[in-house]
Structures are given as structure tokens and as C-alpha cells.
Symmetry: C2
Subunit: 204 residues, 2 copies
């Protein structure tokens, strides 16, 4: 049994997020005020603060929603030919970048990255980090499969490798959104260079 209050709250949450997304895409992040969002959602400005703490909090909540959708689609977006780790990571990066660009502009993603660090430890930032862990785990699973197929050495730790590759990909993603000029292809090239240089070293 959900109480009326719980349903009203859930409804307000949805209206705030949906209004914020519309306004951020229409007017950009900076030029959208909390009051704008509140008005569009039919609540007071203070209520938006009560729900999400900060304007960045609203943004983070909105991104967490869309990233949950990404994660459920990510695995099927990756091809299933095992063995080529570089192609796996490059494909992975491409799916992430495409998803990001389909949802928000680069300058808004910069706000997201900033919010994750400044709001470190808060509920929403933690939720975002958990999603990153899930993304990394998608890589881990693929590496385990490749290891089972014999294309990745038995002595490799798939969890550590998956996390390392995710971090590298993430660093390049941040570089991608940090400059409007940087294209997806630029990042792919860089990532290939990173990986082939790293994989040219053996037995650390």
C-alpha cells in the first residue's frame, strides 16, 4: 500500500526531473534557474532544493536516470567477437559517447563531471559512482568470456583489467566532453594508441 503522500512525492520528483531536462536542453544549464524548473514543475523553488539539494543535484538525478537506461542496453550494443580487447574498449567508449551526446550537450556534461567530484559522498554522487561500477563490470564480464575462450591469458585478473580499462576509457571520455572541438574519432584514435602502447609491455 503506497500512501497518498508517497505518490505525491514521487510525482513531484518526476515533474521536477522532467522539467529540468526540458529546460536544460532548451536554455542550457547556466541560464535555467531553479525558479524556472520549479515553476514548470508546479512547485516552489525551495521544494526543488528540498528534493535535490542543489541545481547540480537535479542534474545528477537526471543523468542517473538516463544512465540506468544505458546500462541495460550497453551489453547488447557490444559485438560478440571475442579476443580483440582494443576493439572491445573502443566500441565501449563509442557507445558511451553516443549515449552521452544523444542526451545532453557537452557543456552540461562538464557540469555533471564537476558535480560528481564536488558533491562526492552525497546520495546522488554515490548513485552515479555505482553506475560507473556497473559500467566497468560490463567490461569485466567480456574479459571473463574472452579468458574462457582462451584469447586472454589465464593469469590475467579480469576484475582488475576491467577496472583499469574502464578508468582509461573514462579519462578519455572526460577529455572528449572537456572540449567542443574534440570528436569521437579523435578519442578513438587516442584510446587505440593508449591500449596498443600498454599492451606492448609484457610481464610487469
Amino acid at each position: 500500500m503506497t500512501t497518498l503522500r508517497a505518490r505525491q512525492k514521487e510525482d513531484r520528483r518526476k515533474r521536477i526531473i522532467s522539467s529540468a531536462k526540458t529546460l536544460f536542453k532548451k536554455k542550457g544549464y547556466e541560464r535555467t534557474t531553479i525558479e524556472n524548473i520549479a515553476e514548470e514543475a508546479g512547485v516552489s523553488g525551495v521544494t526543488v532544493h528540498n528534493y535535490y539539494g542543489t541545481k547540480a543535484g537535479v542534474l545528477l538525478a537526471l543523468v542517473v536516470d538516463s544512465d540506468e537506461a544505458l546500462i541495460s542496453r550497453l551489453d547488447e550494443s557490444l559485438s560478440h567477437k571475442e579476443g580483440d580487447l582494443i576493439e572491445l574498449v573502443v566500441q565501449f567508449a563509442r557507445v558511451i559517447m553516443d549515449h552521452a551526446m544523444a542526451n545532453l550537450e557537452k557543456d552540461i556534461w562538464r557540469q555533471v563531471i564537476a558535480a560528481v567530484t564536488t558533491e562526492a559522498g552525497t546520495r546522488l554522487s554515490t548513485a552515479y559512482s555505482k553506475l560507473d561500477q556497473k559500467l566497468a563490470y560490463t567490461l569485466v564480464k567480456r574479459i571473463e568470456a574472452a579468458q574462457a575462450a582462451g584469447t586472454v591469458p589465464a593469469e590475467t585478473d579480469p576484475v582488475h583489467l576491467g577496472k583499469a580499462l574502464f578508468h582509461l576509457q573514462n579519462a578519455r571520455f572526460i577529455q572528449f566532453i572537456s572540449s567542443d572541438e574534440m570528436t569521437r574519432d579523435d578519442i578513438e584514435t587516442r584510446l587505440r594508441h593508449d591500449l596498443s602502447a600498454l599492451f606492448s609491455i609484457c610481464r610487469g
Copy 2:
């Protein structure tokens, strides 16, 4: 011949940065207001804005100063036994973390990381990114030396490898400052895991 105006400007810059550093360390970033900084430096609040744009801009300027000092000391802080890439990167990471903690608290570093992304493209953010490139180049030089000594394969591209290793180290540094509980040793362990997993793969 430097004009009086140029000297006054330089002097004000120095006073603002020095006042800001003192206050940030004493009261923390959030609780230091631009007016506080301005008063301590003997200028008006608007002048601080005119000079550095934002409060984060002041912080960035201050970090750029201290990072320039780091770079000149970094190379000599690293030991000179060639060959062990993992130890090289771990040492590198340690010097950076120690330097960071000697200068500012973690919560202030979180503001720095955030500012670099939100202010992407501005003069100060660009200066910060240039310093990162210099840091990466320190790694590149070491890898070139190791290659000359025969401990790194001839087919390895030292520039690409150096940049990749720097990105990985940087990702772990951000993780370090993102949580007050994360210790330097935790990060070292993770970095070792990253690197040995990556180096267990050959011929990408």
C-alpha cells in the same frame, strides 16, 4: 622598463593569491568569501573578480603556482633504477599525492578538479592542463630512458605509453581526493593491480 601600473598589478595579483591560500587553508574553501580575500589583500571584491573571474579561478591560479614548483622537483624525486614500470608509476603517483596533501585539503582538491572541467577553455584551466601535460612528459622521458636501456621493448611508443600511464595515474588520483577515507596506500595497491593486469596482456 616595467611601468608602475604593471608592477602594481603584479603586486595585487600576488596579494590576492597569497591571501586566498591563507584563508582557504584556515577556513576552508566554502567558508572563505571573495570579500574575505579582497579585504585581506587590500582590494575591492570586484577587483578579485576582475583578476580571476570566479572564486574557482582564484583557486586554480593558486594551484598552478604550486604545481609549477612540483614539476621542477618531480624528476629528482623519482629514483633512477630503470626497468620496473610499475614502480615508476607508483612512485610518480606517490610524489603527486604527497605534494597535493602538503598543499591543500582533499575537499579543496575536489573543487580544483571540478573547476578544471567547468572552466574548460579558460586561461587558467588551460594553464592547468598544460601542467598536466608536463607531468605526463616526465613519465615519457623515463620510458625513453628505459627503452634505451633495453628494459622497455623497442616497438613501444614512449609518448603514447607515458600519456596512457599518466591518465591511469590521474584517474586514481581523482579517486584518492574524492574520498576522505581513501589512503595513499589504498591507491598504490589499486594502481599496482591496474598495471599488472594491463601488462599481463601482450600484443594488442
